[in-house]
């Protein structure tokens, strides 16, 4: 699909990245200023650098700013995790959901809320992170027990665990319907009412996951084709897979803790990124991070208006937008 990149291609890629970055900053500014009420950039400047406790400043700093920062973090994390999952499993329809982490996080949240009565957002996100972590360990342990984390095993064990987790979630939800009503919004994924502390706590995990991912760029390129090629190129295949798995767990675990299970981002972003950046993992993951960030940020803005004045779950918006984008991408490649 890709041709070896000449210098001009490299330059045009730099332009693409610059364009995406500019788009991301614009999207974040839109996210802060546009919503139920409109604010000007001057008001934002005042609120951040000369906070005066006014209602405007409070809304901007406490409500708008956190989600404008959280949304791109989640999107970037899921975008990179999506690339990693699709390479690890060699399956173009795989996504971070495939590994069962979202289902595990949802299960942990529902269990904690049903048995311990945890309802605060901070508590829930901690529980979600724990659930995602335990699930990834479980998937890894079962895969290792089944003879190593080969692409097919990872995927099969992941979807099985995901299915189990979802079943138990459904069971608990149906058996205490009234109590669980408030969890439904969490389960659809949202950036509403997230405190800034959540973004600050999530940052190290996203950063660590991204660091591992970008350290693995070369071996991932080699692993893309098949194991034999990778081995002949001197790639320690198992080690790379373990690193890859760790990075996915960190990235999507942090994402689900911050925003709940946001669907479809991890599936569609890698396809869009491949279109812009080709198959090599360095440019690919960079593009995926930026596209993912733009995608969730804009989806979050859109979610404020779909069923105005109520906010729609961002997961629904990412799915509609992502579905349409995927169709366009696929059709664009027809010729």
């Amino acid at each position: 699909m890709t041709v070896p990149r000449a210098r001009s291609a490299r330059q045009s890629f730099a332009v693409t990245i610059a364009g995406l970055s500019a788009l991301l900053i614009t999207a974040m500014l839109v996210s802060v200023t546009v919503g139920y009420r409109l604010y000007g950039l001057d008001q934002l400047y005042h609120a951040v650098f000369a906070f005066d406790g006014s209602e405007t400043a409070t809304v901007l700093v406490n409500l708008r700013l956190p989600r404008a920062i959280l949304a791109p973090m989640v999107g970037a994390g899921l975008g990179v995790a999506g690339v990693l999952v699709q390479t690890l499993s060699r399956n173009r329809i795989a996504s971070p959901d495939t590994l069962g982490l979202n289902a595990g996080a949802s299960l942990a949240v529902v269990l904690a809320s049903a048995t311990l009565g945890i309802t605060s957002l901070t508590g829930l996100s901690l529980v979600a992170a724990l659930g995602a972590l335990l699930t990834s360990m479980l998937v890894f342990a079962i895969a290792a027990g089944a003879g190593g984390i080969s692409p097919i095993r990872i995927v099969l064990i992941g979807v099985t665990i995901a299915g189990l987790g979802q079943s138990v979630v459904q069971l608990i939800l149906t058996s205490n319907e009234a109590q669980m009503q408030n969890l439904l919004f969490w389960l659809a994924g949202s950036f509403v009412d997230r405190p800034m502390a959540l973004a600050i706590n999530g940052l190290p995990f996203i950063a660590a996951g991204a660091a591992i991912a970008f350290a693995l760029v070369r071996p991932l390129d080699a692993l893309q084709a098949d194991d034999a090629t990778a081995v002949s190129l001197g790639v320690p295949v198992s080690l790379v897979r373990i690193g890859c798995f760790l990075a996915i767990s960190l990235l999507s675990g942090a994402a689900v803790a911050m925003a709940g299970p946001v669907s479809f981002v991890g599936l569609v972003v890698p396809h869009a990124a491949r279109r812009l950046a080709g198959q090599r993992h360095g440019p690919l993951m960079l593009a995926a991070a930026l596209i993912g960030a733009i995608y969730t940020t804009l989806a979050d803005v859109l979610a404020r208006f779909v069923i105005y004045p109520v906010e729609a779950p961002v997961g629904a918006v990412t799915a509609v937008v992502g579905g349409l984008v995927l169709v366009l991408l696929l059709r664009g490649r027809a010729a």
């Binding site: 173009r92 089944a146 099985t160 665990i161 299915g163 459904q170 149906t174 579905g323 169709v327 027809a334």
Partner: protein, 344 residues
């Protein structure tokens, strides 16, 4: 993929399939015996054979047998659809759920409930037309996938991606319509989306069976022609198989199986993904044995799931579709972990 010793499985497949048939039959009978009142198996058999007292006949024939029969048909149909899709796409994540069929059906149901309700949120038409709406939605869903993909439908992974895209849009629309809709509509739609086998009558079973049986026969017929292993386009052509056209046919059969299976019972999840993998691990890679095995395992999973929700949650009616994973998944994980010893 897990390789197997072909000679071993070839001789063992009929035996294994017979065991699975017996297991499914036993489970189905227990499905009829269990419920708000226990009816001994011999009484169940007597009623089915035409002898038995009136109360028991009523319970068995009108309440319990229909849900077991529809569970067998729908679970089996979904599993066979999943088997065909996984084989033709060579993608282990392929399932009826990623074709856009099921989410299209759900959208059909939600639009039906929204459009045909009057101001006080009562349906202006009978609820018996809901399956029709589901079927129409499912057909439109798969039609959208084929139309959008156009000439690209020759590529298996592209078709799957188009299915996922259409499905995602439909699913999100359903989610939004349920959020803004009145509670009655939401819970009625949620029921379909979860998939439940209760409240099915014999007419509906007849319709399902009439549509499903020819499709299953067709599935068996195409399965015999499915490329045995990893056959690429050129080698396929050299053995006289036009792979793109054949692939479209298989997709269409799988979509039709899915649409018929979900129409009355709703979007039963996980069976279509898991049963074919289970079948592969148990009976090996023979195509015909794989189809029969998938049907039996799919039926087993859904009948089992329905039994679980009835035993655990009676008298509340919990949709069986919510727990299908609980029946198959643990055993599947066990198989994955134990089979690797036989790996070459």
């Amino acid at each position: 993929m897990t390789p197997f010793l072909p000679a071993l499985t070839a001789t063992r497949a009929p035996l294994l399939l017979s065991i699975m048939t017996i297991a499914t039959a036993v489970l189905a009978l227990s499905g009829v015996a269990f419920g708000s009142s226990w009816i001994p198996i011999d009484r169940v058999a007597a009623v089915i054979l035409g002898a038995g007292d009136k109360t028991q006949s009523l319970i068995v024939l009108q309440l319990r047998l229909p849900r077991v029969v529809i569970a067998i048909l729908a679970g089996g149909g979904m599993a066979v659809a999943g088997f065909l899709l996984q084989k033709i796409t060579r993608n282990s994540l392929a399932s009826p759920g990623v074709l856009g069929v099921i989410d299209g059906g759900a959208l059909g149901v939600v639009i039906f409930l929204a459009a045909l309700s009057d101001k006080s949120n009562t349906l202006v038409t009978s609820i018996v037309f809901q399956p029709l709406a589901a079927m129409a939605g499912a057909t439109l869903g798969i039609a959208a996938v084929f139309l959008l993909s156009g000439s690209q439908s020759v590529s298996a992974v592209r078709l799957l991606l188009f299915g996922i895209a259409v499905g995602a849009v439909a699913k999100a629309l359903v989610m939004v319509m349920m959020l803004v809709g009145p509670i009655y509509r939401t819970s009625q739609a949620a029921r379909w989306i979860a998939g439940a086998v209760n409240e099915v009558n014999w007419t509906e079973i007849q319709i399902t069976a009439l549509l499903l049986l020819p499709l299953l026969a067709l599935a068996l017929a195409v399965a015999r022609k499915l490329p045995p292993a990893d056959l690429d386009e050129i080698s396929a052509r050299s053995v006289g198989l036009d792979l793109p056209v054949f692939r479209l046919l298989v997709f269409a059969v799988a979509a039709a199986l899915t649409a018929v299976s979900v129409a009355f019972v709703g979007a039963i999840g996980f069976v279509g993904l898991m049963a074919p993998h289970l079948a592969r691990l148990i009976v090996g890679r023979s195509m015909v044995a794989g189809i029969i095995g998938s049907f039996l395992l799919g039926a087993f999973m859904l009948v089992g799931a329905d039994l679980v929700v009835r035993v655990l949650f009676s008298p509340t009616e919990v949709p069986a579709g919510t727990v299908t994973a609980i029946i198959g998944a643990p055993y599947f994980l066990f198989l994955l972990m134990s089979k690797q010893r036989h790996d070459g």
